[in-house]
Amino acid sequence: MNRDPVLSVSGLSVTYDVDPPVEAVRDVSLTVGQGEVLGLAGESGCGKSTLAYAVQRLLRPPAEITGGEVVLHDVGGSDVDLTVLPAAEMDRLRWDQIAMVFQGAMNSLNPVLSVGDQLADVFTRHRPAMRRAERTETCGALLEMVGVGANRLRSYPHELSGGMRQRVMIAMALALRPRLLIMDEPTTALDVLVQREILQEISRLREELGFSVVFITHDLPLLLEISDRIAVMRAGRVVETAPAADLYRHPQHEYTKRLLGSFPSLTGERGDFVRKGGVTV
């Protein structure tokens, strides 16, 4: 399945300039194709989120990019290296081409602004020609699209449930119809039923709008379900990248095998997982 690449990361390295310095991301290379779901798996602290932030240049001191490039492939065919883009142009590109759904919507929404206001300021910034009535209508439509309902435009974040807040975050991320959506543990804090709803929502929207997704999570089985390809990260490096089915059936790297074996299976003898070390592939 060869797709046109949307994003190419080559040799990216990120270091936290503390004492002693921490290399959070080491020489990472991966590509995201048009319309595909790339899963990024790994345990806590492996550098997945740092990578996601680095790609969007959201890193704050003491973290800094120490090498490599991040190339966004434009529709028109031109390539842009995000790491060297001037700040003003990067700001224009943000949310328009690449958007992010952050971990923990609890804290990701501004508590003193209404949901509608937070959706609207994206348009105020990126589509200044839009008039107020049109903006309100579009925001309402966005909320409808994710299943929250336009009547929630004037609600405040604390008035919504966890699942609804996450949907609002998704609506906000899709506002400008970006080409790439980075999702950082979007469902980790939610219970399983809500998780499933959100994932279905994302699938539906992806079919409708055709964006690519980088899905970051420690939940490998989840990725096996929803991703086209999966990249496994460990200690700042990508140890294996493969289509999902291949990764499941023929994992190449030791770590991938260990990771796969760490999740209890629904089949097999009761107690196998704990006593015998679980499913091997």
Binding site: R57, L58, L59, P61, P62, E64, I65, T83, V84, A87
Partner: protein
Amino acid sequence: MLTNRKSVTGLVVLGLFALLAALADVVAPYGPLEKDYTALKQPPSATHWLGTTHLGEDIFSQIAYGTRGVLLVGLTAGVLATVVAVVVGVSAGFLGGWRGESLSALSNVFLVLPALPLMIIVASQYDDPSLFLVAAVLAITGWAWGARVLRAQTMSLRSRDFVQAARANGEPLWRIITVEMLPNLTAVIASSFVGTVTAAVLGLTTLAFIGVIPITNLNWGTILYWAQQNGAFPDFWWWYVPAGLAIALLGAALSLISFGIDEYVNPRLRSAGERARSRKRLQKKRTKRSPA
């Protein structure tokens, strides 16, 4: 926390004042009320480092001896107020229910009552209040703030797991409070103590300046009182500037210590400093890779 530049500076300055107070007899060239009729209203000179008053008293000596009054009253008031604040605040936070609520209401009332008018009215009642009495008056008006903060902290600690575990274990109440909770509250107690001392110092000098506290109690505010009463303004700057500066310096030192404690308690403030230094390094490298 002790390596924090701010709190170290504050502690050093505070230490200097404490030394000055303790060694006033040695350091001060004259007694505070010793009059030298040959040198009235003199500007600073070799014999009188900060000049003299209208009665020929050496101002530097007055400031040195005055430090005692300020520190003694300030610290006593701080201790008194903090003890009350701990008792009321921690109990209010821990007890909950109607008892906790009424203690909380009590501290809120004291918090809202304007301190200075109350102090003025009470202090004017006594012809020669002892240092302790003055400290007590200051403490009465100053304990409520600490109590409120402590109550909030205690409430958040109370629901923490280790406290629940202690309760489930059947530990007696006094033990839970002293052994489990108080150590966690030290930083807040320290911060509130420093704040109260600062307020007490300001309150004392203000009361002395107004003349509500009789002049027998020598402190920096008294110096300013005399200065104003005897026409030191505006010409005889050496009379009134040092005393005010001393108050400001002591207050600033105490604030710095308080900041040190604050940064210790709030790690975000601490790491803001680290990040700032890192930013400077990044800017020096002039890399275009950092976001705006």
